[in-house]
Amino acid sequence: MSFHRNKCLTAFHIVGCMVMASFIASPIVASDEAVQIRLFEDQSEANWLAPEGVPTFSYTEPAFGFTRIPVSFTSNALPLDRSWPFSLEATMTTVLEAGEYQFRLRSRALAVFAVDGKSLLQTKALAPNTASHEALPEAPADLGPVRALHAPHHDAVITLHLDAGEHTFLLVAVIGGKGLSPTPGELSVSMARAGEIDRLIGGKDAPLLTDAGWEGFAMAQDLRHERDDIARRRASDDAVEKAWAERHAKIRTWMESRPGPTVPDVADSDSIFNKVDRFINARLADASIEPLPLTSDTEFLRRLSLDTTGLVPSEKQIESFLSEPAELRRATAIERFLSDDSWADSWIPYWQDVLAENPGILKPDLNNTGPFRWYLHQALSDGYSYDRIAVELVEMEGSLAKGAPAGFSMASLNDAPMAAKADILSQAFLANKLSCARCHDAPFHPFKQKDLFSMAAMLEGKPIVLPESSTVPVREGGRQPFVKITLKAGESIDPHWPFEDVMRDIIVAAPPRNTSVDSRYALASTMVSPANTRFQRVIVNRVWARFMGAGIVDSLGDWSKATPTHPELLDYLAREFVINGYDLKHISRLILSSHTYQRKPDPADPKSPGEAGELFAGPRRRYMSAEQVVDSLHLVAGKSLDSEELNLNPRGDRALRQFLNMGTPKRAWEATALSNERDRPSLALPRAQAIVDLLSAYGWQQSRQGPSSARDDGPSPMQTLALANGATGTRGVRLSDDSFFTHLTLQDRSLDEMIDTVFLRALTRQPTDAERTMMVGYLEPYFADRVVPLADRDIGLAKGKKTDSRVSWANHFDPESTRIRMEEERNVRMGDMPTDSLTTEFREHFEDVVWAIVNSPEFTTIP
């Protein structure tokens, strides 16, 4: 036996190798630790398999397996599209024992594999596909333990004798193609000696080419790249960050030289935590209304957690909160939650609505945008200042399909996309509602149609011709329309800042620039100029409304007839926002730390609040949002979201813009409209549909054709039923092997403790005595014998494959594709496979308890 340097680095490995050696000894005697990768772009077709010049990327991978390629970023940290296609080169040198070796090149596209400079294997190019009437591919051939081939991948296999000594492996693969998804699929090269299972060529941890081996490897690669991409993204824009910081320093000096609003002089009291409360309490005192008392600590924690992470607090968070000294608890929790990774997740749904993010995964044709959700996630998790976010959205740069702000520029089948964008931006950032001006002068707003189209022309970078559809037809002899029309179809409108009446065209401390379109930059600079106090006031009002349930100006995207309840407070918050570099977290901290936020909710109907409500004696009572319901349910159950990849062309052989790949959602905001307007069962994504069903019932809009600042998410009977009976609710409650509650109930703990844990996780509180007694009484008869002896468990029970990856747009007319998806729908309806570790009686009764608690109105109402 030779010395296996790379297999035996630790005592553990040595033991492992000794045992394994006689069975499947690795043939690799010595190798580089890693595979060297280089990416080459802009190659001529002749050089695709022999790329030349300077690589645009050099990095390493642990083995010859590729599911993900590093993202490239602009100097502004926006993801970029690569040239179509590009070449990946992978090399590694290894010392092998002499012997017969089988090599397997697996690829869905053109690739070549060489050993010691000699080409041995080649796979054929990926042909762009436009068909939809193909037959469903045969079920993949059984390769024994080796992972089956997923169409349109193919294997090229060769067996040859290699001498003992050093050998060099080289793979060159073509990734993507014109307009196609720039992803490698399941590209790999593996090797095996007679009687062995294929193992990816690579370093000491190279996995076997089995399902488990590949999936583990792919998941690790995905996580590693995710982390590296983020690190590279954050490092890529240091210069830009610095320029923004310089702008903010200038603005701070400028702002501090100007007088700010006077903070009301109210006597200190228990109901004043910070200046916010002084503004609020002064008005309450004038109206002789008492502020509402503080919530309990755990109610506060639940509210804070939902507002900053979109999730109910975990047991661990509750525990550490309660372990703090009472007087420090709230302040400490605010800091901890503001720096939680889920901060971005908690805000994305809001901006998706406000900015009308509306991607379609199937031939977008209904005013669809690109998936700029990914930009929102990037901006919020990298802590961009809000003026930067606004400017970058106006600049519309980066990759459309990868979700940069370029995706915001898109509006499919809209004959005046920039007019739509001008309206969205204007409502989102300036609270000037221009929607009506799309077709005529706005009757109830101070805007003319020309205003909207001059702003649209600024986005367009050139004059815009008014399309016929954006007019109101006037009929000869017909009734004169109530609305005024001052433009004619076909008229050309020049780029021009339209809001001189409301906001002057003054720029203070111009922002860093990242666009070649002058008028876009001019628009952005004017919009975020601190001299225009509108932008900062609109944004802080939005933050206030999210946390307090209503704005200081109630109508968030339309201030034409707005009267702020607390104009000085609005000015104070706006000034704080600007002086502190347009930092959303700073404003959030001010609000969350106020006594006002931490009070008991106002009991009046938020739609008709009394004077106490309007003056914020306490925050408005709110329901959980759709995303909060879905994400919290999963957190409580200890399960991850169950969804297919949101992509109707998993084969990657079609125009990416026609078949966006939106990935597999981990948080509810990543869900998307499933775009089955064609009503074809074979185009369904049943697991994703179950999530979308629950989201929709709670007010999530599958299509965001226009901007919205407030959802229609009032309670409805269907909401109740969607959670109680729907597949996602059923999954949350089911005690399957991956449920937290299965692990909980298998422990040697008392029934009381178990009940307490369920209440704590789901409702952030202990049960009342009556509740505990009721639940214990319900479970007691089945409790003692709940655990099924190991010998009686159905170990190795086939869990069944959830999604047949063969079905895609290409073959969706095949009756078999329809049959498969319809069967998957029925399976999803059944929910997760129940655990066999617990008796059916106990498991079902425990599920009933969890069901009752998460379906209680308390679960979905924010304290």
Partner: protein, 425 residues
Amino acid sequence: MKLTRRDVLKTAAAGMAVPAAFAAPAAKLAAQGKADACIYIWLGGGAGHIDTFDPKRRSKGPDDPGSYYDSIATAARDIRLCEHLPGVAARMDRCALLRTVSHDINSQHGAASNLMHTGRKPSGTIIYPSVGSIVSNELGSKSDDVPAYVVMGYPNIMRDPGFLGAKNGYVYLTQIETGPTGLNPAPDVTDDRQKRREILLGRLRADYLARNDNDAIVRAKAEVSEQGFRMAGPQFMNVFDLESESSSLREAYKSEFGQRCLLARRLVGAGVRFVEVSFNLNFLNGTGWDVHQDGIVKQHLLIQDLDHAIATLIDDLERNNLFDRTMIVVATEFGRPAEFDAQGGRGHQSGAFSTLFAGGGIRGGQAVGETDEIGETIVDRQTTVPDYFATLFGAMGIDPAKNLYASSRPVPITDHGQPVEELFG
């Protein structure tokens, strides 16, 4: 300015609104219809009108534009239908055809389907409600414990309530076998178990309400919780139990699509106002109604299935005394041209296609509008999409010119649509 008839049609198709000088007089017959429920049969994919409701001379081969089938006489004088529609033909005296529905979205299924459900193209400023949601908004359901609007098909934006809000949304099912999504408990939850669950929940809910008894939001949430479980109670859920119908009737309805029509009749009987039944059983011919290429070879299987289900539905509604107040509408996103593609199938044609109306007080035995000898251009009387919807709403007693409000913005139910008056009176 002098316009030819051709110009008018062109303008109308492009802008979808007929210039006033040529439009019919004000909707005097609108809002006078008697239908109080609608079964909207949706032939997604684009059902070819010349192969169904507007047959022309039969094609002699791939190079000869024309119908794919022979035509047959019907119970209405001068109206012929495709030979695979004998059941509808025998009941043509109770059916009316609009043979010149027309719009200009010819290539995109999604956008055209959206148009034929909302009556409008997306504007990017508001989301227009679907026809079902408008009916739900205007008429509500006939009973508190029954939803107003049910879809048999996939949930998507064209069926959504848009600016009318979630209260005008729908209950949906994609397969009879799985039942309505969200309404019935998971398959492993027996009635007994559900009762036990609701007892536990009832106590938690009562305690929570007691702790927050002055809170309007908590009260509202607790109320819908109770109302939801009432809605999912046996009264409504029994509607989905087709087993309770005689086996002879179930057999008469035959196919999966027929069973959906049977369910639609039961839903309407229970008080649902608008039931959309999607005919999306694409496996019958491999492509559904979108018969490009060789999908056309077995298109007759779809047509026969459709024929059988409509005929049985008409008879069944009549037997249950529901026909006079239940309107059946058969619609699609566009028709198909008389020419054939390289593999003998057909492309899309939005400039002229057919829809069928029956029941609910509609005057049957007529075909309104006429296409040319191969069904490609309109010879007489265009029905715009707004006119088509105005007809549907008018038949249900809903004023097609009434304004709905997207917050403060008035949005008429149809874009100046005029009901096709021949269908009334």
